[in-house]
Subunit: 312 residues, 2 copies
């Protein structure tokens, strides 16, 4: 693809952040706009927490604990210990350094600044090498309705309940009243390539694509490519397959193709799923087979190059 | 004095907390009600901080850093470091364990719980051996108007400006609209002894006494004794003498007697000020001379016993 061509990535949390590390190694960060999921944002101890935005920011700013897979490197847990002693709920683990982010952002929001402005300010202060746009400035909350009748915040389902409850359906609460955040539609309209990161299609990219106008804008983009988060019928982490099954699609690369067929031209899938290439193609999506396991930065960089080539 | 007689102490921060440690060693904590100053409460990073209430709580719960003189023992500063990296103002030092208190309390207040209820819940969770009542549930803010025309929050004056600006006058903002907190007037009415702790009379006890009805209730108490925070014309810590001078009273034990003459019968003063006993007595306040330096718990306990005897 041409030099200086703007790339837009729709991103969830850990998987997307790993992919983005590779992308930033492959092309200049100034060309990259990330549209981040905010459907798993939550309030913890009165603070606004944006887990996916922070995972992207911390990872790309070189601050993340890559081994643990979330949060900041060199993190400590004194505040959480204190909250535990006070009898507060501490199932959502907030580190001390991470808390500084949430305190700072929450104060900005309380002063009336939109999330997009607070996110941009944090990105600048933490040294994020790409542009990061929250998918929306309005509250959208991904909720998991369980077979046993509970209505859980996605983080309650994911962290507190460890994805154990059987899923009836997933809801994007507030999505009809929400609009895409500032710059989101413009970035998609100007994109040379749109990439759907290897994130959970229901939990992470679903809320972004469900925002009014976003799915159509992705479909209208010149070139769009998705990277499958599913390898051999399994997600590396998290409840993607259970959510896909609950949504009535096969928990495979074919299901991924089915979910995205109206808005992507190509799907990058793992060699382990090469046998399903034909089924992907029959969904009208061009399969591109490669090693999608991002075991290190070199592997992520290679995957990013393959994705960009697949879009070309 | 008789056993089981309720004691009420009007208290500021560090000096009061030291005295209270001695008092708790001298009489059962169940007999003691502390009415704590909230005039120096402030919002820091969106959190409600009650410095004097917390100093009393941490000290009496055995959690305080007695050497540093404020905050918690074994404290760490990771969040403050993170906030500094984000460019936030960090002149008000908040430790990590301390932040747990402020997060917890702030969430309680946002849920509509009054400060008195949040304070009682914190006291119970942290193991405070006395009853601690905030002087009011309404916002009262002690502000320092400086000679050079600035209007500073008391903590800005005290911590950020290190008491350097020349004081024009001190204001208790919001005092007219505020009422004594739940239990305050009842505790004073039931008190066998009321003690004015060795705290700054303008900055720390001034706001409590200025609340509608409190000064009269203290004056109406059976026995009231004050302990001078001034020794040989100096306060151990803080701007008491400068504030007294700005209020037009001598920055000595005589000035203390003058400020309290309408509501105390006795004033405990240091041996260094024995020569001023006559001047104190001529204010209509009975002087009780002793060693008032609380160099350790034994000295504080002895001072507490002297104060109770002085009231008898």
């Amino acid at each position: 693809m041409e030099e200086g061509a703007p790339i837009v990535v729709l991103a969830g949390g850990v998987g997307a952040a790993r992919f983005l590390r590779g992308l930033v190694a492959a092309v200049p960060g100034t060309e990259i706009t990330v549209i981040g999921n905010t459907g798993d944002d939550l309030e913890v101890h009165g603070l606004h927490v944006s887990p996916d935005l922070d995972t992207v920011t911390y990872t790309l700013a070189g601050l993340a604990d890559l081994e643990r897979g979330w949060g900041l490197a060199g993190e400590s847990w004194a505040v959480l210990g204190g909250l535990g002693r006070l009898g507060a709920d501490t199932w959502f683990q907030l580190g001390d350094r991470d808390l500084a982010t949430h305190l700072w952002r929450t104060e900005q929001l309380r002063r009336g600044r939109p999330l997009s402005a607070a996110t941009a300010a944090l990105a600048e202060r933490l040294g994020l090498p790409v542009r990061l746009l929250p998918m929306t400035d309005q509250p959208v909350t991904t909720r998991v309705h369980t077979v046993d009748g509970r209505d859980l915040h996605i983080q309650e389902f994911f962290v507190r309940e460890r994805c154990r409850p059987a899923i009836a359906h997933v809801e994007y609460q507030g999505i009809e009243a929400a609009g895409p955040g500032p710059g989101v539609l413009a970035a998609l309209a100007a994109a040379a390539v749109v990439v759907l990161a290897p994130s959970n299609p229901i939990m992470s990219l679903g809320p972004i694509l469900a925002l009014p106008g976003v799915r159509a804008a992705v479909a209208a983009a010149r070139r769009t490519v998705a990277i499958s988060p599913i390898i051999a019928g399994k997600a590396l982490k998290g409840p993607a397959t259970a959510m896909m099954a609950a949504a009535g699609v096969a928990p495979t690369v074919v299901g991924i193709a089915q979910l995205y067929r109206d808005c992507v031209q190509a799907l990058v899938l793992d060699e382990a799923d090469a046998a399903l290439s034909g089924a992907v193609a029959s969904q009208g999506v061009r399969p591109v087979v490669t090693d999608t396991l991002m075991v290190d930065l070199a592997a992520a960089t290679r995957l990013a190059r393959v994705a960009l080539e697949a879009a070309a």
